[in-house]
Amino acid sequence: MAEMWIHMGPQHPMTHGLWNLRIKVDGETITDAVPELGYLHRSVEKIGERRKYFMNTTLTDRLCYASAMTWTHCYCLTVEELMGVETPQRAKYIRTIVLELQRIASHLMWLGAYLPDLGLITGFLYGMRDREMFLNLLEIPSGGRLLYNYVRIGGVKRDLPPGFAAKAERVMQTLEQRLKEYEDLYDNSKIFRMRTDDVGCYSASDAINWGITGPNLRSAGVAFDLRQADSYDAYPELDFTPVTTSASDGISDCFSRYRQRIDEMYQSMDLIRQALAKMPEGEVMADSVPVRASGEAFRRTEDSRGEALMYLVGDGTDRPYRWKIRSPMFTTVSASPHFLKGYKVADVPAIMGSIDMCIGETDK
C-alpha cells in the first residue's frame, strides 16, 4: 500500500487544543510525523511589552488554561527578581500551596483527557469530577476557577481564610481514595496496560538532548526537579525528593508517564500538608512594589508540564523592554516525531495524550 499523509488537526479529537499533526502512514504504521503549530498564536510576549508590569498577570493566566496559576507565578517571580522585591514569608507558603493545588488540578485534567484518547470516556468524567474539588479550593482565596490572577508581584492577592486547611485536608483525603480506585481501574486493567506499555518509548539521554523536561523527563528515571534544583518560594523549607518512574532502566513509555503523574499527585498532597503545617503568620504582600524596573532577569519554575522559564529586560520604564517565555511543551512537541515513528495510528492519541499537551503555552 502506498504511503499517505493524514492530517490530525487542527480540528481533531486527538489534538486537545488547536494544532495540526501531519502523519505519514504505511498502512497503519507511522513512518513520519510533522507537528504544525501556530493556530493559537496570540503574540503574548509582544502584547506584554506594551503593557505595564502588573497588567501582564492577566496575560500569563491565559498562557495555559489548565495551569494558569503556575504561569502567573513564574512571571511574578521574574518581575520580583528584576525589581528586587522580597516576598513575605507567608505569601511564599501560600504560593507553594496554591501551586501544588494547581498542579494536582492540572494533572487531573490530564488524566481526564488521556482516557478518552484510549477510548474510555468514563475516565474524562472521573478526572473532571475530582478536578472540580480542587477548583473549589482554588476559588476560596482567588475567586476564580479557571483564570485566577491570584499571585501578584510582591505576594498574593489576599490571605487564605480560616478553615482552609481543614477543607484542603478533606479534599485531599477524598482524592487519595479516588486515586486508589483509579489504580484499580487503570493499572490493573489488562487493556489499559496493552495500550500504554512499551508505546511511545524514549530514553533518558534522548529526552535530555531533545529538551524534554518535567514529568515527561522524570518518567524516564531522571531525578531532575526545578523545585529542588533551582528552588523558589517555600520549597527549600519542605522535605521532599523528586518522584521518578521508568518503564525499564532509563526508558519512558506511556505507562510510566501515566504513573509519574499519579505519583506526583501524591507528592503534591504531601507538600500541601507540610506547607499548611509550617505556614507562619504575617503579611501576604510586600510593603512597596516599584513600578519601574531596569536590568534583566530570568527565573525558571517547575510548571505542571515541565520547565517554565521567563526572561525579562527592563529599560527603566514601567513596561518590559523584552519578554521571552520558554514553554516546556514547545520542545516536547517538537521532539514528538522521534517517538511517534514506528507505532500505529491508534497509538497517536495514546502517545500525544501521555505527554500532556497544552497548546496555549506552546503557541503563546
Partner: protein, 397 residues
C-alpha cells in the same frame, strides 16, 4: 409450530390476496393503456413468488418494529447506565419535566429556586429528540465521493442487520422464520456488514473512513474463525443448527439429571463466543472501525442525517441479535420456570446487553494489531480446545 413467515403466508393467501385481487381484476380493462398491468399484478400476487414477497414484507416490517422498539430501550439503558457509571445522572428530560418547564415559563413558580426546581424525569424524551434530529438533518453526499457506493454502503449495513432479526426466534411461539440452517445463516448474515463498512469507507474519499473500513475487514479476519469454532461445539452437542433443537437439547435432563445449559460444560466456548461477538458487533473494546480518538468517527465520519441514525440503530440491532444468539447457544434460550418463555428470553438477552454496556464504559479500546494477535493466538486455540471438550462430551455421554 408456525413461524411468523408461515402465518403471514397463510394470511396473504387466505385474506390479503383474495381481498385485493378482485379490485385489480375489476380495473384490468377499464382504461387499457393505464390499467393493463393491474391484471398481471393480480396474477403475480396469486402465484407462489408473489405470495412469498408479500409474506416476507410483512415479516420484515414486524421485525423492524420489534428491532426498533428494542433499540430505543437499549439506547435508553445505555445512556442511563453510562451516566451511573460516570457518576452523573444521564438524560433527565421527560414529559413531567416538560410540564415543570412550562409552568416555570408561564410564571406559576414565582421565584426560581435552584434547590427545588429540578426538571427531573426519567429521561425518555432524549431518544425522541435524537430521532427528530436525525430526521431533520440533510443527507449530504460529499462532493468527491463515489455517489453509488456511498449510498449503497449504509444500505448493506442496515439491511443486513435487520435481516438478522428475522432469523433468530424469540421462542417457539414467536419466530419469524424457521430456516433449516438456523444459526449458520445468522452468522452468514452477520458477516455481510463489513462489506458495507468497507464500501462506505472507500466511497467517502476520506482517509479516516478508509482506515476505518480497512480495520473492519482486518477485524473480520481476526474474530470470524474463533467465533464459528466456538459455536461448532454447541452445534456438535445438539446435532443441529436450528435454535429450537439447541434449546431443546439444553433442556434435556436425561444426561445429567437436571437441565444443563451449555455455558457450564462449554465455559471456554462461552468466553470465546462473548469476546468474538463483542468484536462482531463492534463495541468497545473492539470498536476499531469507529475509533473516535484517532479516526474522528471512523467509517461513519462522512455519513449524515437519517443514514447515520439508521446506522446507529443497526449497530444496536446487531448488539441485540448478538445477545440473542448468546442466549440461545449458551444460556438455555427461552427456557425457565414459572414465567413465559418470551419473558425469560428477554431477561437473559437484556442481562447480556447490560453486561455489554457496563463493559463499554469501563475499558479502553484495543489496537488493530492486538485484536489480530488476540484472535489468532488466544481465541483460536481456546475455541479448538472447546471443540475438543464438546467432542469428548458427545463421545462419553
Amino acid at each position: 409450530m408456525t413461524s411468523l413467515y408461515e402465518w403471514s403466508y397463510w394470511f396473504c393467501e387466505a385474506w390479503l390476496v383474495p381481498l385485493l385481487t378482485p379490485l385489480l381484476y375489476f380495473q384490468e380493462h377499464i382504461m387499457p393503456p393505464f390499467s393493463n398491468p393491474a391484471g398481471d399484478l393480480a396474477r403475480w400476487m396469486e402465484s407462489d413468488p408473489g405470495l412469498n414477497v408479500l409474506a416476507w414484507s410483512i415479516v420484515v416490517n414486524v421485525a423492524l418494529m420489534i428491532g426498533f422498539t428494542n433499540v430505543i430501550i437499549v439506547v435508553y439503558l445505555e445512556r442511563k447506565i453510562a451516566g451511573r457509571i460516570m457518576d452523573r445522572r444521564g438524560p433527565m428530560l421527560s414529559f413531567n419535566s416538560l410540564k415543570e418547564i412550562a409552568s416555570d415559563l408561564a410564571g406559576s413558580v414565582p421565584e426560581y429556586n435552584w434547590k427545588t426546581t429540578t426538571y427531573a424525569g426519567i429521561g425518555i424524551l432524549q431518544n425522541v429528540a435524537d430521532g427528530i434530529k436525525f430526521f431533520c438533518k440533510e443527507m449530504i453526499v460529499p462532493a468527491k465521493a463515489d455517489r453509488l457506493l456511498y449510498t449503497i454502503g449504509p444500505v448493506i449495513f442496515i439491511s443486513s442487520s435487520i435481516l438478522l432479526l428475522i432469523l433468530v426466534p424469540f421462542s417457539p411461539r414467536i419466530a419469524a422464520s424457521s430456516a433449516p440452517l438456523g444459526l449458520l445463516v445468522v452468522m452468514a448474515a452477520f458477516s455481510i456488514a463489513p462489506i458495507g463498512v468497507l464500501t462506505t469507507g472507500w466511497a467517502c474519499n476520506n482517509k479516516y473512513t478508509l482506515i476505518g473500513g480497512m480495520r473492519s475487514a482486518a477485524q473480520l479476519m481476526a474474530y470470524e474463525i474463533p467465533l464459528l469454532l466456538s459455536m461448532a461445539g454447541v452445534f456438535l452437542v445438539a446435532g443441529s443448527f436450528s435454535p429450537m433443537d439447541i434449546v431443546a437439547q439444553q433442556q434435556d435432563a436425561s444426561q445429567f439429571g437436571i437441565p444443563m445449559w451449555n455455558v457450564i460444560p462449554q465455559f471456554i466456548g462461552f468466553i470465546v463466543f462473548m469476546v468474538c461477538i463483542l468484536a462482531e458487533v463492534e463495541r468497545i473494546p473492539f470498536d476499531l472501525p469507529e475509533a473516535e480518538a484517532e479516526l474522528v468517527e471512523g467509517w461513519t465520519t462522512e455519513i449524515g442525517g437519517l443514514r447515520l441514525g439508521l446506522t446507529f440503530a443497526a449497530e444496536y440491532i446487531r448488539g441485540f441479535v448478538g445477545a440473542m444468539i448468546a442466549t440461545v447457544l449458551f444460556l438455555g434460550g427461552w427456557a425457565g420456570p414459572f414465567l413465559p418463555g418470551e419473558i425469560w428470553f428477554l431477561i437473559k438477552v437484556y442481562g447480556i446487553l447490560i453486561f455489554f454496556i457496563i463493559l463499554r464504559w469501563s475499558v479502553p479500546r484495543i489496537r488493530t494489531d492486538q485484536i489480530l494477535l488476540l484472535g489468532w493466538k488466544r481465541l483460536l486455540p481456546l475455541s479448538l480446545l472447546n471443540l475438543a471438550i464438546a467432542i469428548l462430551f458427545v463421545e462419553v455421554f
